[in-house]
């Protein structure tokens, strides 16, 4: 038999980044254990709409844990705090009748609030744009399989590449650090042969951009890896730190002479 129950929600309501926000209380009645957390909120929003009230804003897209759009705090846990689970994939069976839940947006100066539970994660895009890529000239790309990649490195690169950029790492970190996110991309590309030519430049640029965005520092608490929906380990942060140190030591001034190409 399907279990249905009701919950008390305290949801952070904030009209915009400029206006002050506060918690509002809602009752989610008739919650089915088979619903996802976002479906539960959909139902709450339907009720709000019927009453002519403003629905709760939250980001979502794929609802299958792969796009990285969704995410907010539930009782102080990013994505609700279940291993390897985004909030869209969190099922209501984990909750009990009458439970009180506090829903808050990711809180970080680098992630300004757009509305309610939705935040602007453009800072992540700018970190990626600063160096999270490999440059491949059009028309001269070699066949992927022509470059040998050891299986262990390929697997490790894949672990890092699993990052969906949801921002849970920053949200959960006591220091609002973006180290795990940045390290995942630095590690992903730095492990592959295609990423080698830009490896030093990449880590310097991405760490520089991360700093410019105003994220905090890493104190190795491991809070990020515990809530990362893709379970990316903080070993990647160590790898990025090593790359950063190496690149900083090796860096030489760019030549400003040379042909126009």
């Amino acid at each position: 038999m399907t279990r249905t129950f009701s919950l008390t929600l305290h949801v952070w309501r904030q009209k915009s980044a400029k206006q002050a926000g506060q918690f509002a209380k809602y009752i989610a009645a008739n919650v089915s254990e088979h619903m996802s957390f976002l479906e539960m909120l959909d139902v709450v929003n339907q009720d709000l709409l019927a009453k002519g009230e403003d629905p709760i804003a939250f980001d979502h897209d794929c609802r299958e844990g792969i796009c990285g759009s969704c995410g907010f705090m539930v009782n102080g846990d990013a994505h609700g705090g279940h291993r390897g689970t985004t909030i869209c994939q969190l099922h209501m069976r984990h909750f009990k009748d009458g439970e009180e839940l506090w829903l808050e947006p990711w809180r970080s100066a680098a992630f300004p609030i757009v509305k309610d539970l939705a935040v602007d994660r453009g800072a992540f895009d700018r970190i990626i744009a600063s160096g999270g890529f490999v440059s491949v000239p059009t028309g001269s790309a070699v066949d992927g399989n022509a470059i040998p990649v050891p299986k262990t490195e390929a697997d490790l690169a894949m672990d890092a590449a699993a990052c969906i950029g949801c921002g849970a790492c920053v949200a959960m970190c006591p220091n609002s650090a973006a180290q795990l996110f940045t390290a995942a991309k630095v590690g992903h590309l730095g492990l592959l042969p295609q990423g080698q030519p830009e490896r030093d430049r990449r880590v310097l640029a991405m760490v520089g951009q991360m700093t410019a965005e105003g994220f905090g520092h890493c104190t190795s608490t491991g809070e990020c890896e515990a809530v990362c929906p893709k379970e990316i380990p903080i070993a990647f942060i160590a790898r990025m730190n090593r790359d950063y140190l190496e690149a900083s030591v090796k860096e030489r001034p760019q030549a400003n002479r040379g042909g126009s190409g």
Binding site: W12, F23, M73, N75, G76, D77, G81, W102, E104, R107, S108, A109, A110, R126, A129, S130, G131, M172, P174, N175, S176, A177, R201, V203, L204, A205, V207, G208, Q209, M210, T211, A212, G214, F215, G216, H217, C218, T219, S220, T221, G222, E223, E225, A226, V227, I234, A235, I237, A238, R239, M240, N241, R242, D243, Y244, L245, A247, S248, E251, P253
Partner: protein, 223 residues
């Protein structure tokens, strides 16, 4: 969008990672120091001659002693400076606090590094005034380490105070030693799991080794 190219010498320290690397390197120096300091202290347990001879040995060459002291002072200054700067960064990075915040995996030690750090900083100053300069010691005899230590730890409050401080030292370095392996990028799937354990064991050895002296002195005197 054009890339921000950071990382030149002066930029290195501007990033949180650069500051953490400075903290890690100075941390290695300071942990190394407390370890040697602890093993030296244990000679108190072997009697007055041993420890007083060791103290004299350390003072064989004043230039050498001061070189070591300057390295330590510089390490403390750099370590504390980076810590304070990073703590300010943390506050700026989350101006609005969570109404509710859970903890997943973070140990108490890892979350209170700044507080154990403040406590240790105060302790270090008092400790130097107590046993190095003797300023706040009630019965200080220059060069007679055994006398200075035993008379101080006769007082149960002082003995207990030192033991409590070693609790803070344990907290600080048990997380610090692990964290510095992360900051320096010393991570490998085969050894990383051991890093946390090694950090804790090392922290226990250092803290217990230090605490043994006040406890032993007090136990012997109480008899």
């Amino acid at each position: 969008m054009s890339a921000t190219v950071a990382g030149t010498g002066s930029r290195f320290y501007e990033t949180a990672i650069g500051k953490k690397i400075v903290m890690a390197v100075t941390g290695v120096i300071l942990v190394g120091f407390v370890f040697v300091h602890m093993t030296g202290n244990l000679q108190v347990l072997q009697g007055a001659d041993k420890i007083n001879h060791y103290a004299k040995l350390l003072r064989t060459s004043m230039p050498l002693l001061w070189t070591a002291r300057l390295v330590l002072i510089a390490s403390v200054v750099l370590h504390v400076r980076a810590a304070l700067q990073l703590y300010a960064l943390k506050a700026a990075a989350r101006p609005v606090a969570y109404a509710k915040k859970a903890h997943r995996g973070a140990t108490l030690a890892s979350r209170t590094m700044i507080w154990s750090g403040y406590t240790l900083a105060i302790f270090i100053v008092l400790h130097i005034l107590h046993f190095t300069t003797g300023t706040i010691h009630t019965d200080f005899v220059e060069g007679d380490v055994f006398h200075n230590v035993t008379t101080a730890f006769k007082n149960p409050l002082i003995a207990a105070g030192y033991v409590v401080m070693m609790g803070f030292l344990f907290m600080h370095i048990s997380h610090g030693i692990f964290s510095l392996t992360q900051s320096l990028g010393l991570s490998h799937p085969r050894y990383s799991a051991a890093a946390k354990t090694v950090a804790r064991v090392l922290a226990v050895i250092i803290a217990v080794g230090f605490a043994a002296v006040p406890v032993a002195v007090f136990a012997v005197i109480a008899k």
